[in-house]
Amino acid sequence: MNTSTTLAAAPLVRLSQVYKTFHAGTVNEVRPMRGINLDIAEGAFVIVLGGNGSGKSTLLNAIAGSFAIDAGRIELDGQDVSTWPEHRRAALIGRVFQNPFSGTAPNMSILDNFSLAAKRGKFRGLSWAHSRQLRDELSDRVRELKMGMEDRLDSAIGSLSGGQRQALTLLMATWLKPRLLLLDEHTAALDPKSADQVIALTDRVIQREGLTTLMVTHSMQQAVNLGDRIIMMHRGNVLHDFRDAQKQRLRVDDLLAHFENVRRRELLDESAADMLRSRYL
C-alpha cells in the first residue's frame, strides 16, 4: 500500500506551465502550448482528443523532446528532462508515429530494425548487431502477430504494408519496456481492417506490459473503447479531463457533444472578434 501512495504522490509525467510558440512574430505564428499543466500517473492509459491544431501532437512531441519548449518544465520519472535532447529521452520513451514510414528504416531488414530497437537508449558499441537469440525471440514475437512476416526477417521493411509496418513499429517501441509509450494517431493512415488489427495489438501489449501510455487519436470509437482517462485539448490547453468512472460512462455521442460545444465556442469567438473589429478598427 505504501508504494501506491508514493506513486500517487509522484506522477510518472508532469508538465508544469509549458509554453511553446512556433514562428513567433510572423503571420504563421501558432501557439500549440499555452501554459499546459498535466500529470499522468504510472500505469495510466490516457487518450488525447482534440480538433486540428489543438496541440495534441505537439504535446507528445514536447514530451519526446522533438523541440525545445519556450517555458515551463517537463518531468519524467522524477527527473527534469526539459533540456534533454530527444535521443537522451529515448531511453525512457517508446514512440509510434502517424506515418508508417516514420518508425522504421525502410532499406534495412526487419532484423536490422529490431537490433536497433533492442538498444534503445543504451550504449551502442562494437558488438555484432545481430544475434541468434535476437533472431529466435523476434521470430516468435512476429509469429504471434499472425501477419505472415516470420519468414521475412531478412527482407527490407520498406517492402511491407503500412499495417505491417505499424505493428512492427509498436513491437519495436515496446521491445525494451519503456517508462512511457507515446502513440501519435498511429492508425490514422491505415485502412480500417489494418487499423483494427493494430489497435487490438496496441491494447494487448499495453495490458500485458502494464505500460503508461499517451495515445492521440481522431477516432471517438477508439477513445471510448480504450484507456482509463481521456483529455480533450483545445487551443493549446487541456479543456476537459475525464477519469476512471466518468471516463467509463462516456459514449461516442457524449464526446461528439463536447466537440460540438467546442466548435460553437469557436464560432462565437470568431463572430465576437468580427463584431469588435467592425466596431473599433
Binding site: 530527444e86 522504421t104 536490422d112 537490433s115 536497433l116 551502442r124
Partner: protein, 311 residues
C-alpha cells in the same frame, strides 16, 4: 599487359576513394564534395612527410588517412553543429583545403625523385618474391615491382573492405546506417544522429585521404590539382557497382563498389588508348554519372507508360 596491370592497380587504389564515397553517398545520403579536397590533402601531407622528412611510407599512409579524416570531421561539424547544407559545407571545406594544400606542399607539385615510397618497397619485395626484376605471368613478361604493387594494394583494399563490412554490422554501424535511412526513427531509438554523421564523414574522408597518399606514391608525385572531380569518379564507381551487383546487402554493395572502381578505371584506360582526349575525361565522367542517375527513373516512367497499353 603492363598497361592492364597499371590500370588495375590504380583502379584498386581508387577503390578506397570509392568506398569513402559509398559511405557518405549511400550510407548517409550526402553527395560529399569534401572528397575533392581531402584526396589532395591526404596526398599532400603524405608527400611532404616522405620527401622532406624521410618518414616511413607506412606512417605516411596513416598520416594521409588522418589528414582526410580531419577534413571530413570539419565538414561534419559544419553540417551538424552549424546546420549548413551538406553540399555547401563540402564546397566550403574543399575550397579552404585548396589553400591549405598549397601551404602544406609549398608549391603546386612535389615529385618523389629518389624518395623511399611504397613503390620502392614493392621493387625490393618484387625481386625477393619473384627472384628477378621481371617475371613471367601467363606468357607475358611483366615487371615484378608492378605485380607486387598490385598484389599489395589488393590485399590492403580487401582488409579495409572487410573492416568496413564488419563495422557496418556492429551495433554502432547499424545505427549509423539507420541514421542515413530514417533519422527520425533512430533518434526515437536513442541514436545521436549528429555524432554519427560527423564520425561517418571522418571515416569516409579518411579512406579518401589514404587513397590520395597511395595514389601519389604510385604515380611518384603529388599535385595540388589531383583531387578535382574525384567525387564524381567515386560516384561513378559506386553506381557501376550497384548496377552490376544489385547491392542487396552491405557486403554485396562493398564488393560491388570495389569492382565498380576497377572496371571504371579499365573503361577509362581503354577509352584513352582508343584516342579519347584526356581533357574530355571529366566531361565524359560527369555525363556518365548524369545518365546513371536519371536512367532508372526514365526506365520506370517508360514501363509505367507501356503497362496500361499492354493490359
Amino acid at each position: 599487359m603492363t598497361l592492364l596491370i597499371g590500370a588495375l592497380t590504380l583502379g584498386i587504389i581508387l577503390a578506397l576513394l570509392a568506398l569513402g564515397v559509398y559511405v557518405s553517398y549511400r550510407i548517409f545520403d550526402i553527395a560529399d564534395i569534401t572528397v575533392d579536397g581531402s584526396l589532395t590533402f591526404g596526398a599532400a601531407v603524405a608527400s611532404v612527410l616522405l620527401v622532406r622528412h624521410g618518414i616511413h611510407p607506412l606512417w605516411a599512409c596513416c598520416a594521409g588517412f588522418a589528414a582526410g579524416a580531419t577534413a571530413g570531421l570539419v565538414s561534419g561539424i559544419l553540417q551538424t553543429r552549424f546546420r549548413i547544407n551538406s553540399l555547401l559545407a563540402g564546397i566550403l571545406v574543399m575550397t579552404a583545403l585548396y589553400s591549405v594544400n598549397l601551404h602544406v606542399m609549398g608549391r603546386s607539385n612535389i615529385p618523389f625523385l629518389g624518395t623511399v615510397t611504397v613503390a620502392t618497397y614493392c621493387e625490393q619485395l618484387g625481386v625477393a618474391w619473384f627472384g628477378a626484376a621481371e617475371t613471367d605471368l601467363w606468357g607475358w613478361t611483366v615487371s615484378s615491382a608492378d605485380l607486387t604493387m598490385l598484389l599489395l594494394m589488393f590485399a590492403l583494399v580487401s582488409c579495409v573492405a572487410l573492416a568496413l563490412w564488419a563495422f557496418l554490422r556492429t551495433d554502432i554501424g547499424t545505427a549509423m546506417r539507420a541514421s542515413g535511412d530514417n533519422p527520425q526513427m533512430i533518434r526515437a531509438l536513442g541514436g545521436n544522429v549528429e555524432n554519427y554523421r560527423i564520425f561517418g564523414l571522418a571515416v569516409a574522408n579518411g579512406l579518401v585521404g589514404l587513397a590520395g597518399a597511395l595514389w601519389a606514391q604510385y604515380q611518384n608525385f603529388a599535385d595540388v590539382q589531383m583531387g578535382i572531380g574525384m567525387v564524381v569518379w567515386g560516384l561513378a564507381s559506386v553506381i557501376i557497382g550497384e548496377a552490376l551487383t544489385g547491392a542487396s546487402s552491405v557486403g554485396v554493395a562493398i564488393v560491388g563498389t570495389i569492382v565498380g572502381s576497377i572496371l571504371f578505371r579499365q573503361l577509362v584506360a581503354i577509352a584513352l588508348s582508343f584516342g579519347l582526349n584526356p581533357n574530355d575525361l571529366k566531361l565524359v565522367t560527369a555525363v556518365f554519372v548524369f545518365a546513371a542517375l536519371i536512367l532508372p527513373d526514365m526506365m520506370g516512367k517508360l514501363s509505367a507508360r507501356k503497362q496500361p497499353g499492354a493490359a
